[in-house]
């Protein structure tokens, strides 16, 4: 990129975005010295509309996904400025040597502007011209950072911090992320689906990564036995001024009671919502019979609007190499791939075909945990009463 500055740009709108206490993205953009993008961004503020148009199909050798083409409708300012999507390491843990190297490669070949991280869970590198793409891709790949997750394919998978730094992780989210990324790497790198698909792993029902709304396939850690109580620690919380009765009052099913000395639990009433555990992390912990709930259909966008994903398998144990879940996901992908309309997410296909048909086709049993309540109409399709 040209780093020379012939004449300082006048950017009154962008300057206004630099004012204030919160660090500004415009300041970062200006630091890169990526003059054409600064000019184009200012132009958008003047015109109140974007100047980017379809970039068409832009790829690097051997990989179908991973590059988002961007071409501007103001080629006099900036012609092409594509985005690279890189698979981020599990749980977003980095060593500085890698980050430094990525920044160095990106600065040398492209704008230098980085986005940590894209909302799909990838490293997003912004602003590369078409001719620089192949050498940059080769350098990044050599460093160990692979491409994928754009277009109608499996997006880069994502996981919460999990057992690396959280006491509530009921599943090994980092290992799942690594193992499933390797297993489904073909689907991440080559677009072949009707639309995008996302898989996210969250260690507990707090769902810090938003898997249930932000992923088509959500794997959320949970447990089946009673949560564990350290009565001494509960008393310590009470002594320190925590209103333990108020914590109990917020329990959605009234499963816990506090008599001033002992916290009693009715395990059969507990729905594992995490509220009391969040309030008293030193005293309460998830039980030992740990696994995950597998949910399907979540998304914020698509043909039919936002869905919160719904339960397919209420509880499954997850131990390496996770064959059962991998096979189930592969079966769901195949089912969707064969039937999905253009831009139809997997949840929408299930809605169009019916949940019963989906369960039959992928070979899963119907269980009451899959519904809030049974149907209220007597219109059965295809012998569902049998």
């Amino acid at each position: 990129m040209a780093k020379s500055k012939p004449k300082p740009l006048k950017t009154p709108n962008l300057d206004a975005l630099e004012e204030g206490r919160w660090p500004s993205h415009v300041t970062e953009l200006k630091k890169t010295g990526y003059r054409p993008l600064i000019e184009l961004y200012e132009q958008s503020y003047k015109d109140k509309e974007t100047h980017w148009v379809h970039g068409g199909m832009v790829t690097v050798p051997r990989i179908g996904a991973g590059v988002i083409g961007r071409i501007s409708n103001r080629p006099d300012i900036l012609e092409d400025s594509h985005t690279f999507r890189i698979i981020a390491p599990s749980g977003y843990f980095y060593r500085t040597e890698h980050l430094r190297k990525i920044a160095e490669i990106w600065e040398r070949h492209a704008s230098g502007l980085m986005l940590l991280h894209g909302n799909t869970g990838d490293i997003n590198l912004i602003g590369i011209s078409t001719k620089e793409m192949t050498p940059t891709y080769e350098e990044l790949l050599k460093l160990g950072f692979d491409f994928g997750g754009s277009g109608p394919d499996l997006r880069t998978l994502a996981a919460c911090v999990g057992p690396a730094r959280c006491e509530w992780a009921c599943i090994d989210t980092l290992d799942l992320h690594h193992s499933f990324t390797k297993h489904f790497l073909g689907e991440v790198r080559y677009p072949r689906f009707p639309y995008k698909a996302k898989i996210k792993f969250c260690g507990c029902p707090n769902d810090c990564h938003g898997a249930m709304v932000r992923a088509d396939l959500a794997v959320v850690g949970t447990w089946r036995d009673a949560l564990k109580i350290d009565q001494g620690a509960v008393r310590d919380y009470a002594k320190a001024g925590l209103d333990v009765n108020y914590v109990c009052a917020k329990c959605p099913t009234g499963a816990i009671k506090w008599d001033g000395r002992e916290l009693s639990l009715k395990p059969e009433d507990c729905t594992r919502c995490m509220h009391c555990i969040n309030k008293m992390p030193k005293a309460l912990r998830p039980g030992d019979d740990r696994g995950a709930t597998f949910l399907v259909g979540g998304k914020c966008r698509g043909r039919l609007g936002a869905f919160v994903s719904w339960v397919v398998v209420p509880f499954m144990r997850l131990t390496p190499p996770y064959t059962e879940l991998k096979e189930l996901i592969a079966k769901i992908f195949e089912w969707w791939d064969e039937r999905g309309l253009p831009r139809e997410r997997v949840g929408e296909l299930i809605y169009r075909h019916g949940y019963g048909k989906f369960l039959r086709d992928v070979g899963l049993p119907p269980v009451p945990q899959q519904v809030h309540r049974p149907r209220a109409n007597p219109f059965f399709f295809g012998g569902e009463t049998s």
């Binding site: 004012e19 970062e28 109140k48 991280h117 073909g186």
Partner: protein, 356 residues
């Protein structure tokens, strides 16, 4: 760590074990509890009694390589060269030695000038998409609006006394690349003009795919090689423009912003909730969108005033009722608030229970 299971001849991703600091490797899966020491600083303690301090830092969504190097310098100096990020564009320094926490925070303030906070019952970092900066479909500029909100709510990033955590998300169009529906406050850019059909561009697209992509069947073929859009059926979702460049729908005069409230993804208490419409349309007013900021402030302040402890925005509204929410905030309830799309019926009230 995990072995290559399907050899593609290339990397996939580096083993996560190489990315974890030694104290985390030693205590992987053996954490016992955590506490929030002060805004932005967490301490996790393992079964073995070892502790790790997390310093959470808010940062801009886009960063320059120069900043990346400064961040790395600090991680090398205080964290043995390890660091992590969160799914909300935040940065986390993982400090093994307590002695390093204060000097690290002092350096973050001095060198990076980034805020330390966003833990517990505070405003968390704002999720954003790329907007006008680098996208073809936006109706507004999410990073710009997020910056304006950050300025208004700057102090909320360090608060500990909000009723519950406060998550905000800003996206520039209905593509929703930023979890807006799972946020307490969601800002969504909206188009309001039927796509303009450019015949010669449409002729280059796959017309059957384009027609089938429309969720409301508003697109009809127009022989020999173009399409016609029924304005009555169009809901400005923009899918046709994503499928084919021949149907652009941006309109600088009519594009704008909508505000949504009450989303939550956690399973705590009542479970996940999708955010609901509060304000259907505010015209774009760059560079600082004062009308949007004002409305968001109104809603957040009403929540802080009225919510009980531990009530997220959506839980507060569901308790006091939506009629009271509109009354308290003074936001007008309009026909746009009543759902008329696919899953509308469960949102229409079918009881005689009201709050007056």
């Amino acid at each position: 760590m995990a072995k290559e299971e399907r050899p593609w001849g290339m990397w996939g991703l580096l083993p996560y074990g190489e990315m974890l600091p030694p104290v985390i490797k030693r205590n992987y899966g053996k954490w016992k509890y955590h506490e929030v020491l002060r805004p932005g600083v967490l301490r996790h303690v393992s079964e073995a009694g070892e502790g790790i301090y997390t310093v959470r830092v808010g940062m801009p969504k886009f960063i320059a390589p120069e900043t990346v190097r400064k961040v790395c310098d600090l991680a090398d100096k205080y964290c043995d060269g390890y660091l992590r990020f969160t799914s909300r564009h935040s940065l986390e320094f993982l400090v093994a030695d307590k002695k390093n926490v204060d000097p690290l925070i002092a350096d973050i303030k001095k060198v990076l000038r980034f805020p330390v906070g966003g833990t517990g019952n505070a405003m968390q970092s704002i999720v954003q998409c790329t907007g006008w900066m680098h996208c073809q479909t936006p109706a507004t500029d999410a990073p710009g609006i997020a910056k304006a909100l950050y300025e208004e709510f700057y102090d909320y990033f360090f608060r500990t006394d909000l009723p519950a955590k406060l998550k905000m998300g800003v996206v520039s169009c209905l593509n929703m690349c930023g979890s807006t529906h799972a946020c307490d406050i969601g800002i969504i850019g909206v188009h309001r003009t039927v796509p303009r059909v450019i015949d010669e561009e449409v002729a280059k697209c796959e017309i059957p795919v384009l027609i089938r992509a429309c969720p409301t069947y508003a697109i009809k073929p127009k022989p020999p090689k173009s399409i016609e859009i029924d304005p009555e059926r169009c809901m400005y979702c923009g899918i046709c423009y994503i499928v084919c460049p021949g149907a652009p729908l941006t309109d600088p005069e009519r594009d704008g912003v909508s505000i949504w409230v009450g989303g939550k993804t956690s399973n705590t208490r009542g479970g996940p909730m999708l955010s609901r419409l509060a304000v259907p349309y505010i015209p774009n007013n760059p560079p600082r969108w004062p009308e949007v900021v004002e409305k968001v402030k109104l809603i957040v302040d009403a929540w802080i005033e009225g919510a009980r402890k531990d009530e997220r925005v959506g839980e507060w509204i569901e308790r006091i009722s939506w009629e009271r929410f509109f009354e308290i905030t003074g936001l007008p309830f309009t026909a746009a608030h009543i759902d008329d799309f696919t899953f509308s019926i469960p949102t229409w009230r079918s009881t005689t229970q009201f709050r007056w």
